[in-house]
């Protein structure tokens, strides 16, 4: 992943609440076996409506999306983050995010910025005619007007974003600790590893004919 320190540009001043992952990317787009190209399906049902925000030329290609409470609720599909990334979104600002979406966003270089509702309301106004900047160094959101809103991020996730770290690689470096834990597991809860495999338990003669 590429390191990120700032995201700056126009923002979609959307503000809608409870935007679920079925809205971000409908299920029929999930049949892919790659991560690419999902931008075409992003917000498909919203974009089917005339005058929708995503097809408004004023915000075309905006890297920031401003939304309402509970953004990304619903399914765990990482396709939602892939779709946003593919349509060029690098940050979403909202009063709250679903836990799973937020973690998926981080892993795809999208910053989920949590700000209080009042700040989000102000940004929804300001973004109509001014660019918005999210700075991970100073941990602030600023606008072309004099707005300045501080936010917080999990320090580890912030570091991963700013340094473009590969989380799997980082964890694999903890191999000794994991092996040690597995040793204890074999002692304390042997039934975890001694699971009977499917081949041994398959119901006999139970092919579905």
């Amino acid at each position: 992943m590429n390191p990120i320190t700032t995201v700056s540009g126009t923002a979609y001043p959307w503000g809608a609440k409870n935007i679920d992952t079925d809205i971000i990317i409908p299920a029929h787009w999930l049949k892919t076996i790659t991560r690419a190209g999902l931008g075409r399906g992003a917000f498909e049902t919203v974009r089917a409506q005339a005058g929708n925000i995503f097809d408004d030329p004023r915000y075309a290609g905006a890297p920031i999306l401003i939304a309402g409470d509970n953004f990304g609720c619903g399914s765990s599909r990482e396709h939602a983050a892939w779709a946003l990334a593919d349509m060029g979104i690098r940050a979403v600002i909202a009063p709250s995010f679903s836990d799973i979406f937020s973690s998926n966003a981080f892993k795809n270089g999208i910053i989920p910025v949590v700000l209080p509702q009042a700040a989000v309301d102000r940004l929804l106004e300001a973004a109509k005619d001014a660019p918005v900047t999210i700075d991970l160094e100073t941990m602030t959101v600023t606008t072309g007007y004099q707005d300045r809103f501080p936010f917080t991020l999990d320090p580890f996730r912030r570091q991963c974003l700013m340094e473009g770290l590969d989380e799997i690689g980082l964890t694999l470096a903890q191999d000794t600790a994991i092996s040690k834990f597995e040793g204890g597991l074999r002692e304390q809860r042997p039934w975890i590893e001694e699971r009977r495999g499917y081949a041994d338990v398959a119901v006999e003669g139970a092919r579905r004919t």
Binding site: G15, A16, K17, N18, D20, D22, I23, A27, H28, L30, K31, T32, I33, T34, R35, T45, G68, D69, N70, G74, S75, S76, R77, E78, A81, S96, F97, S98, D99, I100, S103, N104, K107, N108, D154, F156, E167, I168, T171, L172, Q174, A177, I178, F181, L185, Q188, R189, W191, I192, E193, E194, R195, Y198, A199, V201, A202, A206, R207, R208, T209
Partner: protein, 478 residues
């Protein structure tokens, strides 16, 4: 020795910490990993690209469910018939190839044990109390019914678990949701969880792991508990737990993948130490009284939009929150409903009995009890999709299939089906469905489809009356 009273969640968490970082995040060991075809291909692709292997293939179990057609699948030779949709076929194929390549246990679409991943896990005894269990699917919360800390993860995390058997997580806050009293006539586990979500809201549980407690929860079967824990995510909570007890042990004993012999005794002894200690503190407690819960359903496009069946479509103006007012009006436009309409006057064209929320044997029994001796109303298409091949066989052994078929329901092959309409089972635009699934989102059951979430008995009542109906009016008398 730590003697501070602990919650069930804290005990499971503490027993899975591989390493604790200074900022409080922990590397957590994952005991059980379920995989299905939709959210895994990119994870296996990532492993290959990084030249990485699966650390503990024996802790993972894979089964296809989302994409499979629910029409008869096997040809006369016992092999899978070609899947019409080339993209679905490609995903199913990818799962078969990936699991073979990485040495992961795989239940094929042709096997009797195939079914929805969240039905299969508990049913085979793969899901166990006190384990950490993950799956690239948000309804993984269901497995919390057996006292597993179970939650949905994204595809990057699926890859992380495959490669390392761990996840880096921050501890959650804890919420107790206590349901006291005794459930009324005709009120099921589904009504309880709908009432809970109606009360806390779709984002009410965000950042929390919920533990369901109280007389009502204790009295529920594992199947009812699975229905409740399944929808934890609809209330925003990533996981929902129910303490393991004798009901849990009796359910698991003898299941094919559950421990046996000496391991069984050791496991039970450990599981008995897990329930929340007296005096342990939750960050938040919410209490509901069973007597206040009626057979319930949703009217809008968020699972928090809940009313009792005796109620009416609410007036958007009645909501204090301006954003909710706008959302409610949009929901009503989408749902084709107007404020003040009695829920029982709303006609339906489709009924779907299935999904990981309500497709187990008890759900089918409850629906069949209402359908028995009645007929699906004219103009209604009603579908029953068992959660797994084993549920289907059990139902057939009990004659439930004949009850449904002679009442005019379709009896299908197991899978996710109309819950998310990734396979050919869809509700056409503008048509209305009483569904036992868990999500009433815009377009969830097909573009333009209108969904009302209900219990299995209420779904059967809707099928035979042709409208959203109070199942209590149909119980007993025929």
């Amino acid at each position: 020795m730590n003697t501070r009273p602990q919650t069930l969640y804290e005990k499971i968490w503490a027993s899975h910490v591989v390493e604790r970082r200074d900022d409080g995040t922990c590397l957590i060991y994952i005991d059980r990993h379920l995989v299905h075809e939709v959210t895994s291909p990119q994870a296996f692709e990532g492993l290959r690209a990084g030249g990485r292997r699966v650390r503990r293939p024996e802790l993972t179990l894979a089964v296809p469910d989302h994409n499979l057609p629910t029409t008869p699948r096997l040809g006369p030779d016992g092999r899978l018939l070609p899947i019409a949709d080339p993209e679905s076929a490609q995903q199913l194929d990818a799962l078969r190839r990936n699991t073979a390549e990485f040495g992961i246990d795989y239940i094929d679409a042709t096997a009797a044990e195939q079914g929805i991943v969240h039905v299969v896990g508990p049913e085979l005894g793969f899901t166990l109390p006190g384990t950490t269990l993950v799956c690239g699917d948000s309804h993984t919360s269901a497995h919390g019914a057996l006292g597993a800390l179970a939650f949905g993860i994204g595809t990057s995390e699926v890859e992380h678990v495959l490669a390392t058997q761990t996840l880096l997580l921050s501890p959650s806050k804890t919420m107790e949701i206590r349901v006291d009293g005794t459930l009324g006539y005709g009120v099921s586990a589904k009504d309880v969880i709908l009432a809970i979500i109606g009360k806390i809201g779709a984002a009410g549980g965000t950042g929390y792991v919920v533990e369901y407690t109280g007389e009502v929860i204790r009295g529920l079967s594992i199947e009812g508990r699975l229905t409740i824990a399944n929808m934890s995510i609809e209330g925003g909570a990533r996981a929902g737990l129910i303490a393991p007890d004798d009901t849990t042990f009796a359910y698991l004993k003898g299941r094919p993948m559950a421990p046996s012999g000496e391991n069984w005794d050791r496991a039970v002894a450990w599981w008995k130490t897990l329930p929340t200690d007296a005096g342990a503190a939750y960050d938040r407690t919410v209490t509901l009284h069973a007597g206040d819960i009626a057979p319930s359903l949703t009217w809008g496009t968020s699972p928090e939009d809940v009313v009792p069946i005796t109620g009416a479509v609410p007036d958007p103006e009645s909501f204090a929150d301006p954003a909710k007012r706008i959302a409610a009006q949009k929901s009503l436009d989408y749902m084709g409903l107007s404020a003040g309409t009695r829920m029982q006057d709303v006609p339906v064209q489709h009924v779907f009995i299935g999904s990981c929320t309500n497709s187990r044997i008890e759900d089918l029994r409850a629906a069949a009890a209402v359908a028995d001796g009645r007929r699906v109303a004219d103009g209604v298409r009603a579908m029953v999709v068992p959660g797994s091949g084993l549920v289907k066989r059990q139902a057939e052994a009990e004659g439930l299939d004949r009850v449904f078929v002679s009442a005019g329901f379709e009896w299908r092959e197991p899978g996710c089906s109309m819950c998310l309409a990734m396979n050919p089972d869809k509700v056409p635009p503008g048509e209305r469905c009483a569904s036992t699934s868990n999500r009433n989102f815009v377009g969830r059951q097909g573009p333009g489809a209108r969904t009302h979430l209900v219990s299995p008995a209420m779904a059967a009542a809707a099928a035979v009356t042709g409208r959203l109906a109070d199942v209590r009016d149909l119980m007993g008398a025929k």
